[in-house]
Symmetry: C2
Subunit: 242 residues, 2 copies
């Protein structure tokens, strides 16, 4: 049942993260990989394209595929990763405190953000995230009850995304993130250890399921000195009209 190209991808990605494949090392050619794994060239190429897309290797025509220098301790990593997944990755002492969990009727702002009417019910979840004994992040999340019928304290203190994907079987497909910097509100000052900072970094997040329905809106509000966003971007030459 395993997809061949994903197996090949994982195996090579692992070796790069382990250090078994070192930066600047040349990978086997596509022809050699075909024989090594006993698959067609197309399958090898799918795996290599994923590795390139996620910054593990660089393919150079006429030469071969080369291992890039992977910084694995970037925090947070680019893309869509939950706080829980992240904590595991960086191995710091972290803690989640559930501040609010309630079912509400959406106000004007939420109706606009989630593109819903006032008849929908919304789960409101407010959590603070401690990193090294300081309250650094305030997460305010809103879920459409249509997709998430019930939520408990336990789920919120563990990982909501984990519950959604593994228990409910919903598939998260993509998200839009928006990073801005704002004046700290009273709420920010109440929930966070802001010290003398009067601004917060706000990451707004719109999450969609695989049928392209918007099911979550969230704001992650960070103390500015502890915020870092890392992005690996390949050059886009793909805008229509050049």
């Amino acid at each position: 049942m395993a997809k061949k190209y994903l197996n090949i991808y994982s195996e090579i990605a692992n070796k790069i993260e382990n250090g078994e494949f070192k930066p600047n090392m040349k990978l086997s050619s596509e022809n050699e990989l075909m024989k090594e794994y006993g698959v067609s060239r197309d399958t090898v190429r799918k795996a290599l394209n994923l590795l390139e897309q996620y910054g593990y290797i660089q393919k150079i025509r006429g030469k071969g595929s080369y291992v890039l220098d992977v910084n694995k301790f970037d925090f947070p990593v680019s893309g869509l990763i939950s706080f829980k997944e992240l904590s595991k990755k960086i191995g710091m002492k972290t803690n989640t405190i559930l501040e609010v969990l309630e079912l509400i009727k959406p106000d004007e702002y939420l109706m606009k953000q989630l593109k819903i009417s006032e008849n929908n019910q919304i789960w409101k979840v407010v959590r603070t995230r401690e990193i090294g004994d300081k309250r650094i992040i305030l997460d305010k999340d809103y879920f459409n009850k249509k997709y998430i019928p019930s939520l408990t304290k336990e789920i919120c203190e563990d990982s909501i995304f984990n519950y959604i994907e593994n228990e409910l079987g919903l598939k998260i497909s993509f998200a839009r993130k928006e990073i801005t910097v704002q004046q700290a509100t009273k709420e920010d000052k109440k929930y966070l250890d802001l010290e003398n900072y009067n601004m917060v970094v706000v990451v707004k997040n719109y999450t969609y399921l695989d049928d392209a329905s918007l099911f979550q809106y969230g704001e992650s509000r960070h103390r500015p000195d502890r915020f870092k966003f890392v992005d690996f971007a390949r050059r886009r030459t793909l805008y229509p009209n050049g």
Copy 2:
């Protein structure tokens, strides 16, 4: 010489941006597109995969491909885009002022950032960017002279990236970006209209050529209230080991 899958990509992307293909509309199936364009299924799929990757469409197995709602006025757009490309896209009145252009020997910090020795010579370029008559962005860029032999005032006031790609024929392949928030320095206060803000958003940028050599390091320092970063991210389920 045109690549078929890029033509198909551009044509469909254009129709989506124009509004000819509206959000939630169903595209022709892969089979139909094969006939419409007279190409193989693989070629159609390459085009559709690009469209999906860049957030234009969502493919749903067993159903078809659906047009997503494209917000084209995001500022800045995610990915690797120069100030010049950006200004064109958003149609605001913008202006670039060249503050410093000189050839220097790298200090400790630069040697580390650009991974070079003190024997290399470095172009230092400092530019301020006005948006609507206010100096909003301070761009400090450092280029390895090894790759960029000469730089002029004209090039810096136009687009350095344009010069590099079209005149020098170098291929920019990928970049690492890092977004943090810092206390404003004296230099920030000197060059920018910071009003009462005492912090700046710093976007560090490491740009690589297609042979994976690092050729540029830059810092883009933004007034916090005028900074916005938008990211479209597909769910990553592709970390090794789960």
